[in-house]
């Protein structure tokens, strides 16, 4: 960590004056160095070739450091993954901080380190950004927004219109890891566990799939907030088809399952940050799973269900003991239960 003038971020660091300049020079620009950012202009100028995807997301996670990552890493991976779900390989990102006065310089530096780590892994470049500071009590330590552009894979034909009855539903990794890792550190809920967030960049994983079975991937979505259940409900509603999943097929880590039982949470609604749902034609579903198994982000990939004509507009779960039930939308926030 370089030497900064202050131990904590002050209002002055967002003033646009000398303190902002020093923070950016000895912090942000240095660690995220690339030819476009180095121009230090109001925006970045570049050329893109091919069909382009554009996405944005804001990150307000609490706590900002969690088992398996931090808000900086999450902010890069999140937008890179949103682009990947469009079939696009992320090229350039913007990075905007809203910092609450009083955040320690060390914490800020550690977040930047997280950003850098994710940038290196994904291969994306941060080319423009912004830093604002708000008064104590007007924020929650640190909020980040990232927006990004990416080039769509030439073989990608991702659109929910392509989903048909008979298509298979694939999940690329274990469910509910991220949400439970965060929950385990929330004030008042702390419990001892080795569960870590699954935050990861999915752009390379998705590219690997598209290279081989491009048009057979009908649709992809990363089930972040609202979890798997919300993604499938949206699709069921739009496509007027049934989405039937099997409880026994869902990949859930034993510790995560235990924590969900204890906290009274349904893993189908818990957030993920490093796995995605793919709707794939039945002919290539097994191939998709074996391709995923060869990728570090896809070792737990599985076919979890099927798109059907029956149960149109609904998500159904076949329970372990053979019963069926509707999996609805989550209303509000999942709250811990009473007893």
């Amino acid at each position: 960590m370089p030497k900064f003038d202050f131990d904590v971020i002050t209002m002055g660091h967002g003033s646009g004056g000398l303190l902002t300049h020093r923070l950016l020079q000895s912090g942000v620009f240095d660690i995220l160095k690339n030819e476009l950012l180095d121009q230090q202009h109001d925006g970045a100028s570049f050329e893109l070739e091919g069909r382009t995807a554009f996405s944005t997301d804001s990150y307000v996670i609490s706590p900002i450091f969690f088992p398996g990552g931090n808000i900086g890493e999450l902010a890069v991976n999140g937008t890179v993954n949103d682009l990947a779900m469009c079939g696009a390989d992320a090229k350039y990102l913007s990075l905007a901080f809203i910092i609450e006065e009083g955040l320690s310089m060390e914490a800020f530096w550690n977040v930047l380190t997280g950003v850098k780590y994710a940038v290196q892994k994904t291969g994306v470049k941060i080319v423009t950004g912004d830093t604002k500071v708000v008064e104590k009590g007007k924020g929650d330590q640190l909020f980040i927004n990232t927006s990004g552009v990416g080039i769509i894979h030439p073989k990608a034909q991702i659109h929910h219109d392509h989903i048909e009855a008979g298509d298979k539903i694939i999940i690329s990794g274990n469910l509910a890891q991220h949400g439970i890792a965060i929950m385990s550190k929330r004030q008042g809920l702390e419990f001892e566990t080795d569960i870590v967030s699954d935050t990861a960049n999915l752009n390379h994983t998705v590219r690997g799939l598209l290279d081989v079975i491009g048009p057979d991937i009908k649709f992809m979505r990363d089930p972040t907030r609202g979890g798997l259940a919300s993604v499938l409900n949206e699709l069921a509603e739009i496509r007027k088809l049934g989405f039937v999943i099997e409880q026994d097929a869902l990949p859930i880590d034993e510790q995560v399952e235990g924590a969900c039982e204890m906290l009274g949470l349904d893993p189908l609604y818990v957030a993920n940050e490093g796995s995605f749902v793919a709707i794939v034609s039945p002919q290539h579903a097994d191939l998709a799973v074996s391709l995923l198994h060869a990728d570090p982000n896809g070792v737990n990939a599985r076919i979890i269900g099927e798109v059907t004509r029956e149960h149109a507009g609904k998500v159904m779960l076949k329970s372990r003991i053979g019963g069926h039930r509707v999996v609805g939308y989550l209303t509000g926030e999942q709250l811990p239960r009473i007893c």
Binding site: R320, G332, L335, C339
Partner: protein, 371 residues
């Protein structure tokens, strides 16, 4: 997951389902007391596996559902005081009071925190000596010992900025209220395993005897529930009315004596108003004289008008087992989890929430769920 997967074993489930079909010769109506049991029945699709003659009706055992509008109003009043941190179990937050819920009060700036244990609230009080920390102590006999213990801890450690808003309710008086209702049609109870873990089974013998009704103390997993139903139906078919214990891995006849002692140390039995049902004599716990300084009602001299229940909500009939959620004209239309008319639609243990979440599409039609 060991200790859970055994109780979700598909083969055992099917054995009990087959057994139930074999032994059932007449129509029977069973009530599961606890909302956790209701959710397990619906979530696992068990209701559709039962013989047609067996009707399960859902009991009052959802502490969130039975907490009266006036008590929610008291909690909101306390939370809105400038110096108060109000701590609560998570699922109380969405329950509507007469004008708003705690979640809405929080959005307006009240300091409302979700905790898992009342002992954390005592710690919070120690860390915030300038604030008054109130714990919203709801629940059946299950949560009463920990809530009582928090008062004992606060008293032992001289934490005077801590108090509890007690709204505890008791199962046996509610069972009697249900059985005394003219329209009651319940043939047998599945008693709540967790409540009996604390209180034991003694209180149920006189109830079984007086109303000549079989009571089976039952757990929450699919195998537990099916075994409990089989035990109850066996008794009914033979014309017996015993108290039996399906949940023997957790429940002992005398219960947990240490927990009962803690309850008795801090609480006294009092009348309590149940949402939708009305006042039931001697059906709740209130903080006793000895610990009155830890009773939020006395400490803050709460004096707010009694609120009326929303008349459009038939929660009383739902919790007495007289009506099923789908028989409510407002189910899924005017009343949904995102804008509930009453607590059974918001609580994670509420019967209406269970039906809505696991068997209702949300698009305006209900679907028969088959196995």
């Amino acid at each position: 997951m060991k200790y859970l997967s055994e109780y979700r074993d598909p083969e055992l489930v099917h054995e009990y389902v087959n057994e139930l079909h074999r032994i059932t010769t007449r129509p029977w109506t069973l009530m599961e007391i606890c909302g956790g049991q209701t959710h397990s029945l619906v979530k696992n699709g068990i209701l559709d596996m039962l013989p047609e003659q067996i009707t399960m009706v859902h009991g009052p055992g959802c502490p969130v559902c039975v907490t009266s509008v006036s008590v929610i109003d008291e909690a909101i009043y306390l939370a809105s005081q400038p110096n108060v941190i109000l701590c609560s179990f998570g699922d109380m937050l969405r329950v509507p009071g007469s004008r708003k819920s705690l979640l809405e009060a929080k959005a307006e700036g009240a300091d409302v925190r979700i905790l898992y244990s009342p002992l954390e609230a005592v710690e919070l009080a120690k860390k915030n000596p300038d604030k008054e920390v109130v714990f919203f102590a709801v629940g059946f006999e299950t949560t009463a010992p920990a809530n009582a213990l928090s008062v004992v801890h606060a008293d032992n450690q001289g934490v005077h900025n801590y108090s509890i808003l007690a709204s505890h309710v008791l199962v046996p008086p509610a069972m009697e209220a249900i059985l005394s209702d003219e329209e009651n049609q319940i043939d047998s109870f599945l008693a709540a395993g967790h409540v009996c873990t604390i209180m034991g089974m003694e209180e149920y013998y006189p109830v079984a005897e007086k109303y000549q009704i079989p009571i089976v103390v039952t757990g929450f997993e699919p195998v537990d529930l099916l075994q409990g139903i089989v035990m109850a139906v066996r008794q009914l078919e033979k014309g017996e009315y015993k108290v039996e214990n399906q949940y023997a891995r957790s429940v002992q006849r005398e219960g947990n004596r240490m927990a009962q002692d803690t309850i008795q140390k801090v609480f006294e039995v009092s009348d309590r108003t149940w949402r939708g049902i009305g006042s039931i004599p001697q059906s709740g716990y209130e903080v006793n004289e000895r610990y009155r300084q830890y009773n939020s009602r006395i400490k803050f001299a709460i004096d707010i008008p009694l609120a009326e229940e929303n008349k459009e909500c038939i929660s009383g009939d739902i919790m007495k087992g007289l009506k099923k959620p789908r028989q409510c004209p407002n189910f899924g239309t005017k009343c949904k989890p995102e804008h509930p008319l009453g607590a059974p639609m918001v609580s994670s243990e509420g019967a209406c929430a269970a039906y809505y979440q696991y068997s209702f599409s949300g698009t305006g039609t209900t679907e028969a769920v088959s196995s």
